[in-house]
Every structure is written in structure tokens, then in C-alpha cells.
Amino acid sequence: MEQKNVQALQDVVIRFSGDSGDGMQLTGTLFSDTAALVGNGISTFPDYPAEIRAPQGTVAGVSGFQVHFGSSRELNPGDYCDVLVAMNPAALKANRKWLKEGATIILDGDSISEESLRKAGFATLDPIAELGIGDYNVVVPDITAMTREALKETGLDNKSVVKCKNMFALGICFWLFDRPEEHAFAYLDGKFAKKNPVVAEANKLAIKAGYNYAANTHQFANNYRVAPAKLEKGTYRTISGNVATAWGLCAAAEKAGLPLFCGSYPITPATVILEELAKRKDLGVKTVQAEDEIAGICTAIGAAFAGNFAVTSTSGPGLSLKSEALGLAVMTELPLVVIDVQRGGPSTGLPTKPEQSDLQQALYGRNGECPLIVLAASSPSDCFHYAFEAGRLAMEHMTPVVLLSDGFIANGSEPWRIPSMADYPAITPPIVEEAPEGGFMPYVRNERLARGWAFPGKKGLEHRVGGLEKDAVKGSISHDPANHQLMTHLRAEKVRMVAEDIPVQSVYGEAEGDLLVVGWGGTRGHLQNAVDQLRAEGRRISLCHFNYINPLPHGVKEIFAKFRKIVVCELNQGQFAGYLRQQLQEFDYLQYNKCEGQPFTIVELKRHFESLMQ
């Protein structure tokens, strides 16, 4: 084996791309997990079509998985890629716009044919020239043929052999970035060894073959070292936003000493939350896969009434269906967490693509004056924290909470320093154990305006709740005008008072300057990177990023007042900006919005911020 030049890099973005059946999600995951295990910071972004097997070889059917890994703790999956692995011409074409100038492209040579070029929409027989990437570092190994050759002794049929070509490509990348193969081997053994040891062996052989091919040929000018990130001491794991959300809910249930109940209906991109919770019977979690979205939330409301910590998970279309029942939860003042993993809308929209366009639905999408708490998570790992917070606030304040996530952070993953549950506070809902003198009155409130939570089965606490307006004291049905005014006020005031129970808003960067970037939820990584880069260039720019949306935390006004301009950046048409205009009318808000079903890019953010500071 000839030793090549080794070049040190700070960080690298690789995009694995192929047909939606080519196993690109697995390939990307194995690469990112390996990077994390050797100590790199990582951030990942799967970008896949809504169809399980979209038409083969077409641009619409391309499935991608982007990994950003490096020597610092990455905050976003990166805009443009240094390396593109393209399993067919369609994948090359689909990702042309995401290539960095001079990027390395690994294209399966066996995938190039007149037919595949036609399917991918190429006009000529030379895709490289047609895309204008002749000067790039394009390598076209015959991946399929070499995989077939490497696996010829395994006895597997041709179809199964060809399925291993993604592992050959992974092997090439392992060599390019000097990664060990052990983690991937262990994974393949775990997945296949019992059921089908031949398949496990074949996949491992393909990785080795790809690695050796890259090492032995002169196809690649260099290979690269990306030094481990300097991370805080501790035990780490990689975690995706959806799994972190599910686990944060488990944590809240544990800290409240109540069983966790999830009533839900499968919907992209939220389904993994239900799947993860269904596994957690070891922690006593009960899940009901309901007959529809409405039953999902209604079973959860029933479970909340019965004394469980109840949650339901969904995406935008499902939140629409849950609206009426969410109003019931507001009216009956039961604790409930609704997780909305947002996707592109309206209607079915872009099921697999991220957007932040459900904010106003979460805030206002119900009949009547119907206030509730709205939170938003901003990275895969902080989904854990905000799911916990959603549970804490729901149970201690006796109100539904909508937690907004999105397809980007839900499916993305990153390394996470594992917290200790000893560092999390106990959650103390206002549970009523026995009837006070004179009998239990369900709408009598504590100092937080939270009503008492009396579980069915507790002697002497028999009471009735429901969607009709209730007398503020006795809890019986009331149509009294003054009572309705009072109850409307109390429901709003209860949510408003939550501001006393959440952290004061903070600003990232200097406390004053020329431009304040305002964002919320899953865009934090991109916004922070763009702000960091401009600050490094000496610009007076800071970031005010929101996780608590309703109520807004204290301290916002004071932050906003210290900047010449404020720009609110969101993946929608300006929903948070509109909300801020209503909440804090004394400021002018510029907007930067995008609805492409894609995250912001650092490049476009920087360009825009620079123009605002001229």
C-alpha cells in the first residue's frame, strides 16, 4: 500500500446521495457515528423524498444524507459539501447546487448509461461537462462492478450483492478521512449476524474492498485527518431530535413520579417519537397507536384526566386535526404536551422537508380565546431539555403545552454530553390527595392559578369537568356573563404568569450593536454560525434566539432596545415577526424568510446580514 499525502482539515461536509432504495441514510449514519466515536463534532441532515421508493434513477427519487464533522463542536450540518458520493447520475444532478467550488465527487461509473442519463434529465452523454464540474476532483470508480467482484465468493445472489455497493462507497470514505471500520462492522454484525450472517459478512467485505481500492489506487490526491473536537469532559452519545424528545418526556414523567402515556398516530416526520416511546415499556410508558390524529390527542386527554403525564406527537396536518381537542384540554385545564414536528405546508405540503410554518397555528389555531404555552427546541440534543420543560410547565401549571420541533432537528443528530437526572429538578404538579373541608372544587386555583389535579379513583374527589364553561369556583356549568369574562381572564393570566417560571431571555454576542438577529427553534445552528463568522470579521452583530415563545420570557425588550436594527429570520413568511409586532409594538422588525423546504445556508444569511449593516 502506497502512503499518500495526509492533509489536516478543520471540518468536512460529506453528502451521501443515491436512489431512495440505495441505503444512503444507513451509509451516512454509519459514517457520522464513526466520526462521533473518534471524537469529532458532528451534525447530520437527512434529506429524502416523501415516497419510500420514488421512481428509480430520477432526480425526484434522490435520497441524501449530509454529515458535517470537524474539530469543533458543529452547530449545523453545513450548507455546501466538500465530498459528494453519488450513486447515480440523478444524485449528481440533484446535488450539483450543493457542491463547494472544487469539491471531490465520487460517482459510481457503472451507473452511467444512456438510459440513466436520460432518466436524470441530462441532455448529453457527458454529465461532468454538462454540469460544468470538469475542474472539480471527480472520481468515477466502477463501484457496482468492484462490489460484485469483491463479493463473488459469498454465494449471494446478484441483487443482494448489488445492495452492498453503498458499503463500498462507505469504505472509500473511511479511507479518505482515515476512519476506523470497527464501528460499522460491529453495527452490521448486530443487525445481520444472527438472521443472516452471510449478508453481514458481505457488507463488511464491501467496506474493506472500498477502503482498499481507495488506498491502492492513485485516484485520490490526498487523504485527510480531521482532529477530534475539544469537547467538555463527560460521557457522550449521538442523538437525534426525535429520540431526544421521547427521552425528555420520559425524564419529565420520572421527575413527576407519574406514568407516561402517549396517544398518537403515525405521521412524517414525527413518527419516531411514538416508535421510541413504544419501546419504553421498561420505564412503564403506555402508548396507544390511535385510529386517527383526533383519537391520538383524545386518548392523551383521557389519560391526563386519569392522572398520567400525557403527550401526543404529530406534525402540522395532525395539529390541525387536534385543534378542537386541544381547546378541550385548555378548557378542562389538564396537563398535556403536544409535540409538533413541523414540515413544509400547507396541507400535505412537503412531508419530509423542514419549515417553521406552524407557529401561528400553535399559538392561535383554535376556536375561542384559547391560550396555551408554546415552546420550540433548537437542536437535536436540546429537544431533550425542551421536552422536559414542556412536561414540567404542563404539569406544574395545569395547561397544555405545544412543543415545536421540525424535520431538520428531528431527523438530524449530533453528539450530546449525557446529563445526569440528578441535575434535573423534581416536577411537582398540584395533585389533590384528599378533599378539603367543604368538598373538592375542581376550579379552585393555587398561587400560579393552576387548578387541583384530582385523579379518578381517589375517594371523595368525585368531580366533573368538560368543555362547557365552568363556574370559577364550583366548577359546575355556568353561562353567567361575568363568570365567562373572569374565566377568560384567568386562563390567559395563568399562561402569562409562566414567564415568572422560565429563564430570562439571553443574547448571544455583545449586548449592543448594529444588527440583532432574531430567530426561534431549529434555525439556531445556522444563525449562530453566520453571526459567529461576521463577529470574527469585526461586525457588531448578535443573536437573540427564542425557545420560549408563549409567554415570551422577561428581558426581551431590554435586549431589543440596544440594537440599531432587528431582523427576524424564519423558515416561513414571517410568523414570529408578526407575533413580535403584536407583543412588542415599539420596535421595527425587518424580516428574512425562506420557504424552500430547506434550512438556511450560512452563505445566504451572511450575505443578507452584511447588506443590512452597510
Binding site: T235, E291, C298, I418, P419, R464
Partner: protein
């Protein structure tokens, strides 16, 4: 059998009952309040475990009149909410008060899936074949051609028969009663409570304002009921009539009404009711019998032991997994799978 010595008064709330005078709901409330002391003893259920859930409609006001835990929810969702209550705490005795609009129209999906899951709920289905609370529009059980405010020229859609629907959705328990027959309703409710799994008790209820006498042709008074309804009891001959002179026989794949002692039919030819058989054919036929060709079947039509009960299955699975678990707390969970240390 436990003895709690409850009386109907123990289940009466202090709320003023606000149904229309003459409404069949009064009689159903009466039957339920009489049944619960017996249910408490028969199923060893103390007062504090009774929980009533309802949707929207006249029937759904029911829960306010019961001195039990109660949840008056939104239209159509009672069965879904009750599913959450029962799954969260299987020890509760969970009852649903619902109507033909609530459970068969807007809540139809929740109704059939609760039945399919065989979750241990006791559903009282008030069937008055009309929307009462919205003042008289046709419902999914209104007879074909029924003239109402939203069908001024008569409906052009066929009604559901709740019994057929329940059995078709894999229901393990179905009973039917008539609002005025308080003792029969009570008998059905006690049987429903004893049954493990989803129990549906349809009560033919008269809406005195918007659909008066809709059931009157066969159920208007005692004498009419004797002639035109048949009370089914497990193990008993299927006889009816003023002098129990008529019976049901099975001929040419059909049920047939005969007079015992005429045309060569003897009592031995008359069917004996088997409510416990899992076979659905005869139960479906019995539930589907319509006036005037047949007597309308009341009593417990189907009461089949089904070991697959949803809330118990969920509970059992949790217990089994917990008994063999490696992850005992969230700290364990967070550290499960691949982790690495940064020193």
C-alpha cells in the same frame, strides 16, 4: 361478592336534571343509578372507581347528573377519551354515555375502533334516531325517508343498525333495551359491566320533542312491546307474544316467526338463545330484526368471552417487559447503546 350497600342515591349528583319533561333520558338515568349499586357488588368496584365519559348531545349531559368522576368532552370523542382513561388506569370502571349522532356519525371511527380493540368500556348508546340538541336534524339511525329540518323531502340514505355495526366491528358484547323498560335496561347494564371488554348497550330512547314515538310502533307501551319485541336471555327459548305463544325458528338460512302448536311447530323447534357463542351469524340476524316482519330483539344479544382485552393487554405487556428489563430509569436509558468518554 363484595357488598358495598350502595343505593341509587349514592350516584345522584346535586345538579338539576335539565332534559325535557317526558324525555326518555330520565328513565335511562334512573336505570343506571339503580344498576350501579348492583354493579359495584357484582364487579367489586367501590364508588370512587366509577368514571363516566360523554361526548356532545342531549345524552352527553348525563355525566353531570351522576355523582361519580365525569368528563363531558367534545362531539364524537367520548370513546377515544374513555380509551385513554381506561388504558391509563385499568382499575377504573369506565362508562360512556353517548348518542346516535355522537358515536355513529362524528365519532364513528372511534366507536368502531374501541370495539375492535375490545377495551373494557361500558357504552350506553342512546338511540333516538334524531339530533335533539341541535333541534331536529336526521341522524345516521333515522329511518330512510325520514322528514326532518335537514331532510324536508325525506332522507335518501339508509340508517345504521347499531347492533350490526357492533358485531361487524368484532364486538364481543351487544345488548338492547327500551328507555321505558327500566328493569331490563338495568339487567343489560349489569351484564355489560360484568363483561370483560367493550360492551355496547343500545337504549331505544324517545325524543319527545323532535322525534316523538319513533319506536312506538313496536315499543310504545307494554302491550305493544309484548307483541312486537322479544326479550332474549341466554339459555332461554326465543319466545314472545302476549302469552309467549310465538317463537323464532331457523329455516332456509333465515329466522322465521311461528306460533307454537300451529303448522306443526313445537316448542322443540324454537331456538334457544346462546349469547356466548363466538359465531356472529345468528347474533347479527337477531340484532337486525325489524318491525313489522319480526319482533325487535331486546336483552343481551351477544356476550362472548374474548381473552384479547386492550387495556389488560397493554398493562400485561408493561409488566412483562419491566420484569425482564435492563433499563430501570432514565439515567440507564441515556447511557444505553454506543457512548464514549471525553477525558
Amino acid at each position: 361478592m363484595a357488598t358495598y350497600n350502595y343505593t341509587p342515591a349514592d350516584f345522584k349528583s346535586d345538579q338539576e336534571v335539565r332534559w325535557c319533561p317526558g324525555c326518555g333520558d330520565h328513565a335511562i338515568l334512573n336505570a343506571v343509578q339503580r344498576a350501579l349499586p348492583e354493579v359495584a357488588d357484582a364487579t367489586d368496584t367501590p364508588h370512587n372507581l366509577f368514571t363516566f365519559v360523554s361526548g356532545i348531545g342531549c345524552s352527553s349531559r348525563f355525566i353531570y347528573y351522576m355523582k361519580t368522576f365525569g368528563f363531558h368532552s367534545v362531539h364524537g370523542r367520548a370513546n377515544a377519551i374513555a380509551t385513554g382513561v381506561k388504558t391509563a388506569n385499568p382499575a377504573l370502571s369506565v362508562w360512556v354515555a353517548t348518542g346516535d349522532g355522537d358515536s355513529l356519525a362524528i365519532g364513528g371511527n372511534h366507536f368502531i375502533h374501541a370495539i375492535r380493540r375490545n377495551i373494557d368500556l361500558n357504552v350506553i348508546l342512546f338511540n333516538n334516531e334524531i339530533y335533539g340538541l341541535t333541534k331536529g336534524q336526521y341522524s345516521p339511525t333515522s329511518k330512510l325517508g325520514k322528514i326532518t329540518k335537514t331532510s324536508p323531502y325525506g332522507t335518501v340514505e339508509k340508517p345504521f343498525n347499531p347492533g350490526e355495526l357492533v358485531i361487524g366491528a368484532k364486538g364481543s358484547f351487544f345488548a338492547r333495551s327500551v328507555d321505558m323498560e327500566v328493569m331490563l335496561t338495568k339487567e343489560c347494564l349489569v351484564a355489560a359491566a360484568r363483561h370483560k371488554g367493550m360492551s355496547v348497550v343500545e337504549v331505544l330512547q324517545n325524543c319527545v320533542i323532535f322525534n316523538d314515538k319513533t319506536h312506538a310502533l313496536f315499543a310504545g307501551d307494554k302491550a305493544t312491546r309484548a307483541k312486537h319485541t322479544i326479550t332474549l336471555r341466554h339459555g332461554e327459548k326465543m319466545l314472545f307474544g302476549e302469552k309467549r305463544e310465538k317463537g323464532l325458528v331457523f329455516e332456509n338460512m333465515k329466522l322465521k316467526v311461528v306460533t307454537v302448536g300451529e303448522e306443526g311447530y313445537t316448542i322443540d323447534d324454537v331456538l334457544t338463545h346462546d349469547a356466548h357463542t363466538p359465531e356472529t351469524t345468528l347474533h347479527t340476524m337477531l340484532a337486525a330484526m325489524k318491525y313489522p316482519d319480526y319482533p325487535v330483539a331486546v336483552g343481551v344479544i351477544r356476550d362472548v368471552e374474548d381473552p384479547v382485552v386492550y387495556d389488560q393487554g397493554v398493562q400485561r405487556q408493561v409488566e412483562e417487559v419491566r420484569a425482564a428489563r435492563k433499563i430501570t430509569c432514565v439515567d440507564d436509558l441515556l447511557r444505553s447503546g454506543a457512548t464514549w468518554k471525553v477525558e
